[in-house]
């Protein structure tokens, strides 16, 4: 048992946590912005998949990884705009529209991928991002190689957390987002455009989900498979609740989930081979459900979440 523990807690393990947490952090921050403005985005799973596919395709055809990232972000923003069109402009059910956006985006991702790449026995792969050690910082023992010898997109995520908190709590736009999510009527009286602010927040959220998708196909796996997202989007929605709609706490929740996920990956690899690996894959999901049970009673969602806003209906 101690040998197992030794194998688990080492620099490689810490680095794995950071790597697993990165797409979750992007996705969770994206969902958080959307929900803070009052819009639940269940399209996240499909948006991540379509962005992952679009980014991979662009990178694969052009040879430029950063162009791939850009395409993934734009795809995410576009699908965010689609979700906002249905839920904000038309005021349709956020639950069902989100499922619709996920089904539509996933279907489109499968369709276009098969159309562009055909059916190949070995799925096409690209040469993904390489790790970029940060001078000096990467020399710090343990923390250095785990945190500061990573992909550039990981550093983006690390910067995105305080940046999101700053935008949400310290800028006029962030105040508008919080207002339209808590009390759209009051925001409207104060001259804030509820519709425009919600659109912007959902689109920004979609762009962040696109970044999450880009990380999966261009840094983590370097290929697109139909199961590349496999529930990470749903997990991100739970992490937003777990993180109480706050950027710092949400990022912390992503780290905690990544810890459990990295742990089960190590357990798969460390001498417990007679147990099918799928049994370990369940663990992070069970952990998330149990965590939600403990957290949800006291969780306070944005008051106007799920509620469409129509100015003429008073």
């Amino acid at each position: 048992m101690s040998a197992v523990l030794e194998q688990i807690f080492q620099v490689g393990f810490l680095a794995a946590i950071i790597r697993i947490a990165t797409p979750l952090a992007f996705a969770t921050l994206g969902e958080m912005f959307s929900e803070r403005a009052g819009v639940l985005n269940l399209g996240i799973e499909g948006i991540m998949l379509l962005s992952a596919m679009a980014g991979f395709t662009a990178a694969s055809l052009s040879g430029s990884l950063w162009l791939g990232v850009l395409v993934a972000v734009l795809t995410g923003a576009l699908m965010g705009a689609l979700h906002a069109l249905f839920t904000v402009a038309l005021g349709l059910s956020q639950h069902v529209c989100g499922i619709g956006v996920t089904l539509f985006s996933s279907g489109l991702a499968y369709f276009l991928y098969r159309l562009i790449f055909g059916q190949q026995s070995v799925p096409p792969s690209i040469k993904g991002f390489e790790t970029q050690p940060i001078p000096l910082l990467s020399d710090i023992p343990v923390i250095g190689p785990a945190v500061f010898n990573q992909f550039t997109l990981v550093y983006f995520a690390i910067v995105a957390i305080p940046l999101s908190a700053f935008v949400l709590y310290r800028t006029p736009w962030g105040l508008s987002v919080r207002m339209v999510g808590e009390n759209p009527r009051a925001a409207d009286s104060a001259g804030v455009s509820v519709i425009a602010t919600r659109f912007q927040a959902v689109i920004l959220g979609g762009a962040l989900m696109g970044l999450a998708g880009a990380f999966l196909t261009m840094a983590q796996f370097n290929a697109f498979t139909f199961g590349v997202v496999s529930g990470r989007g749903w997990v991100a929605i739970a992490l937003v609740v777990f993180g109480r709609w706050d950027p710092w706490r949400s990022a912390g929740a992503a780290l905690l989930f990544a810890f459990v996920d990295a742990l089960q990956l190590r357990m798969q690899a460390s001498g417990l081979g007679h147990i099918p690996y799928e049994a370990f894959l369940m663990l992070p999901f069970i952990f998330t459900i149990v965590a939600m049970a403990f957290m949800s009673r006291n969780a306070v969602a944005p008051s106007a979440l799920l509620k469409p806003f129509r100015r003429e209906e008073r």
């Binding site: 089904l103 539509f104 159309l115 749903w234 099918p276």
Partner: protein
Amino acid sequence: MFRLEVRTSTPAWFNLALPLAAIAATLVLCSGLIAAAGASVVEAYGVMLSASLGDSYAITETLVRAAPMIFTGLAVAVAFRAKFWNIGAEGQLLAGAVASCAVGAIPMPGPLAMLLMALAGAAAGAAVALVPATLRVRFKVDDVVSSLLLNSVIYYALMALIEGPWKDSFSGYPISPPIEDSANFPVLIEGTRLHLGVIVALIAAPLCWFLIARTTLGFRIRVTGENPEAARYGGINVQRVLLSTALLSGALAGLAGVGEVGGVHFQVMSDISPGYGYSGIVVAMLARLNPLGVVPAAIFLAAVMTGAEAMSRATGVPAFLSDVIQGTALLAMLVALLFTAYRIRRVGASS
């Protein structure tokens, strides 16, 4: 200028016109993808139609595929009526499949085996659905998120079973051992795959309609969904109604899995459901949550799925077109539903 005006009532023909309009819009929108794939739109849709509804054998194949979606569609329709957001029909279907397969592998007389398979599958589905409902009632956990996460848990549990203790030692593949031959659902028409479970699905729809429209439980489900405050005020135990709804919804989704094991695959494998649970949401919305509408809606999606495979072989357009059609149909139907709440009025520039 046009403006939206609140509508107080909707004419009855809307029930038919809205889904048809949504489907028509979907097919027009998706024809762009067929053209992008370099195929003739008319030919592609033509092949889809003839391969799914063109002859009697094709029709039986479409009905076989519709059966699980009738059950998941009913499961979602019943749940959504009470505003219990059960997105977990996929996991409940898988649980039903595993339970019925385990029972069907025990040697016993055929009719008894089939009955017990159905009971076990329904119970397993109901048990799974009870988890998000209980979490919502007791811990205020959002039922959408928990039922979605539970789908992943059940899927990996199924995979662990068929990769591990339940792996078919005879074939060595990650599939469960088959059920007893005597437990295979009887085929109704010689030379087709039309099995007993399809008839059960077709009967289940009017039964669900009766339950929702004409019974006390159905009334409680509807009131709880439409106005929980009024329900509480009227002495309805809303939490209990939610739990009952979950049991009913989960049992229906579990039966979808029973039919797939007893009538189609005779064992459990990783791809026993190509997302029938999620398709159930599309079916239920196209049916406007009316159990009677679930049958034609499920047959439509089944026709798209069966037809898409033939279309892919004939024209080279990826069969994943059926997935895009499902998602588009759901979104188009939601937009169409706007017309039940609003009407578009032309207003003069002066007003």
